[in-house]
């Protein structure tokens, strides 16, 4: 349950030349402010000022040395927030993805107030010829069309794959429409839900989409989900994945969520001062907007806003924590309404479209994911797993619990950064130890900051898929090209 880069990269979405209307502004600001992306403005300004507490890279053959990797931001918090500078980004062709809904599950009771999430949406783009199909699973709280997911989907499509984008099981729509328990975070059940969703999508795709074999990719929590889906598939024998790519995966979920919960403690004066803190940030952006000659509210403005007063490391952490807290409030409240557990909403209250949610939002912003775990998640599963206790249940939500599977399955690869902020000290070594040569550890990038970096992206998508026929023609003309898998 990790904040996703999707929440931080929205340049392209807010810069297009559309007419200036309030909703345009709003959707931009929604993305810029609320999902945290405005943080990225800071980077140009502060550029690598604070020293990074880079964890020592594990000494395995999979580690990429600093000298062989081009990424300019050594501070992992800044990297997380800023992403990759334009000139270093890999190719992601513009693709128009088709959006489709799976039919609503039969017998599923959906509270009126959550009507909008009754059907699960997904997106796909198909090649004109037979090709492998890759499923891309979004990270914490992210939709299938979220920024990072789209980046990956576009890159894979460009490399010749059919591509299907899948919403994270932690997104409200998945909780409402597709989760058997509506309680995300139980990785084995999440994987069952995901596997079912993916099978249904495979059945729903138009007949003209010829699939040669299946691939799977995921980032952040989506990477962890990908691993468990791959394991589920060994049982179900549906996809027989050719290749599974895990990008910036957490190792133990509980360690990562408590790290993220604690980031909010960086708000100056504590969480009670959130309002003051929020208005000071908003005020800074507002001032820059007032001075600028631009009517568009875009990221450049945010760069401008923080030139005068660059953010400290604490402020960066607080912002990542805040952006993340909004995603977790969405998730927890949706689960609460779906299960009627009485966590934030009293059991007897039946919400309507016109009911005020103000109190629930305020409580939701105060409740952390560790609170969710201890007082909602575990109590809901306690009876189902009599052999487990709180600790063993928490431990099961980790890659350690499927270590042997990961170590012995050659199709699974891990891509990670030595300074990822969601990992605890030393956790990065897990990947080198378990995946060996199938792990690639970059020296910098924080959490997903370098996902669109050209080397990283090339590693993620792998060699381009040859079009049928092209390989033959190429072989006739130039035998060396065809044998290395490079398109002529």
């Amino acid at each position: 349950m990790i904040p996703t880069q999707q929440q931080f990269q929205h340049r392209s979405m807010c810069n297009d030349t559309v007419k200036w209307t309030w909703p345009k502004t709003l959707s931009c600001v929604l993305r810029l402010l609320f999902v945290g992306s405005f943080l990225s403005g800071w980077v140009l300004v502060v550029n690598a000022e604070a020293p990074a507490s880079t964890q020592p890279a594990p000494n395995t053959g999979a580690t990429i040395p600093d000298s062989a990797y081009q990424y300019p931001i050594p501070n992992p918090y800044l990297a997380t927030v800023a992403g990759t500078p334009e000139p270093l980004q890999g190719a992601r062709p513009e693709v128009r993805f088709k959006k489709r809904h799976l039919p609503q599950l039969e017998d599923r009771e959906i509270p009126k107030v959550l009507w909008y999430g009754r059907r699960l949406q997904y997106s796909y783009a198909a090649q004109r010829h037979p090709a492998p199909l890759v499923y891309v699973i979004a990270g914490t709280g992210a939709y299938h069309t979220g920024g990072t997911n789209l980046d990956l989907m576009r890159a894979f499509y460009g490399a010749g794959y059919h591509v299907v984008g899948i919403t994270s099981p932690t997104h409200p729509e998945f909780i409402i429409a597709a989760s058997q328990t509506s309680l995300p975070g139980n990785l084995r059940l999440d994987a069952q839900d995901l596997h079912q969703v993916m099978s249904k999508i495979a059945d729903h795709l138009p007949k003209r989409v010829k699939v040669t074999n299946y691939h799977l990719a995921g980032y952040s929590l989506g990477a962890m989900h990908a691993a468990f889906v791959a394991k589920q598939d060994v049982q179900d024998k549906r996809f027989n994945f050719e290749r599974v790519v895990m990008i910036n995966s957490p190792v133990t979920l509980y360690a990562s969520i408590s790290k993220l919960d604690r980031m909010l403690e960086n708000i100056p004066g504590g969480v009670d001062n959130f309002n003051q803190y929020f208005s000071s940030i908003v005020g800074q952006i507002g001032n820059a907007y007032g001075r600028s000659t631009n009517v568009e509210f875009n990221q450049d403005l945010v760069f401008e806003a923080f030139k005068e007063r660059p953010p400290t490391r604490e402020e960066l952490a607080a912002l990542i924590g805040s952006a993340f807290r909004i995603a977790s409030a969405n998730m927890i409240f949706t689960s609460d309404v779906m299960t009627n557990f009485g966590f934030i909403k009293p059991k007897e209250v039946v919400l309507k479209n016109r009911s005020s949610m103000a109190d629930y939002l305020q409580v939701g912003l105060r409740v952390g994911l560790t609170d969710y775990f201890h007082e909602f998640f575990w109590p809901s599963f306690e009876d189902r797993y009599p052999a487990m206790n709180r600790q063993t249940f928490a431990k099961r939500q980790s890659l350690h619990s499927i270590k042997d599977f990961l170590a012995t399955t050659p199709s699974i690869e891990a891509i990670h950064n030595a300074d990822d902020i969601i990992l605890e000290h030393g956790q990065i070594h897990f990947f080198g130890e378990v995946f060996g040569e199938r792990a690639t550890i970059y020296p910098h990038g924080g959490h997903l900051g370098n996902i669109t970096q050209v080397q990283t992206l090339a590693k993620i998508v792998g060699p381009p898929v040859n079009k049928p026929g092209v390989a033959k023609r190429a072989a006739a003309q130039n035998p060396t090209l065809a044998s290395t898998g490079v398109k002529p």
Binding site: W22, P23, K24, S27, V113, F278, K347, E348, V349, D359
Partner: protein, 251 residues
């Protein structure tokens, strides 16, 4: 274009008659406090984060839902059809055309606010685009790097210290407040009085004009109701709308 405002006021009076008590499940006599309630969080002692006064919340929320449905059944299909039958350069031309007309209220409001450098920019844009830009179909002024501004009567009122009044969700137009809704009405009336497209002399021009205006506006609006999936989307939109309008007025 004034009609929606009338409908808004009508629905407003009808809808605010409803009660605002906590809805209870049938048969429930008492309410069990949730695990995390306001009391446990001691929220009564701190300033509520991100809260905006919203006396017409019940009406506004119903209208938020109505707008989403109107999008689903009416506006989004219309936009999809429009995009299917017209090539990109035609749509760009339509967008530029309406954007050029929109310079007129912007100009007037800049005059009212005595923002002379803005007046200079906007007049140059208006003249350049209306002439070289073939009646506004091409945004030539952009190529000359003449900055575009956006002012409306709501901002003018705000500029002179008029408060926003209560937050209002307008049918089809979406988030607004009393001041800006009136401002929008005033801008529309003034533009209708100036009548640059001469709709009064050529009533048949209305048939392409209004549908295109509506479809073009929706097509250029990235926002989709309930798209975030957040159960708190209404609150987030309300906060952001207010913040943005404060920025706009201050600009």
């Amino acid at each position: 274009m004034v009609k929606p405002l009338g409908i808004a006021l009508l629905t407003l009076t009808l809808a605010t008659g409803g009660c605002a008590t906590t809805p209870k499940a049938p048969g429930a006599t008492s309410i069990t406090p949730p695990i995390y309630g306001r009391e446990r969080m001691a929220l009564d002692d701190v300033e509520a984060p991100l809260e905006i006064s919203d006396p017409f919340e019940a009406y506004n929320r119903s209208m938020y839902w109505f707008n989403a449905k109107a999008d689903d059944y009416l506006l989004n299909p219309a936009v999809a059809g429009y995009q299917r039958i017209t090539p990109e350069f035609v749509r760009r031309g339509v967008t530029n055309f309406f954007q050029n007309l929109d310079e007129i209220p912007t100009l007037l409001n800049q005059v009212l606010q005595l923002k002379w450098s803005g007046v200079w920019d906007t007049s140059r844009r208006l003249v350049t685009n209306s002439t070289i830009g073939v009646a506004g179909l091409m945004d030539v002024a952009k190529r000359f790097n003449i900055p575009r501004h956006d002012e409306d009567f709501g901002q003018t009122l705000g500029h002179y210290g008029v408060g926003t009044g209560p937050y209002l969700m307008l049918p089809l137009f979406g988030p607004s407040n009393l001041r800006d809704a009136l401002g929008r009405g005033a801008d529309t009336l003034v533009l209708a009085a100036i009548d640059p497209v001469e709709l009064d002399h050529h009533p048949d021009r209305r048939y392409p004009y209004y549908p295109l205006l509506i479809v073009d506006t929706r097509a250029n609006t990235a926002f989709q109701y309930y798209e975030t999936g957040s159960p708190f989307e209404y609150e987030l939109v309300r906060l952001l709308f207010n913040t943005m309008r404060e920025f706009d007025v201050a600009k």
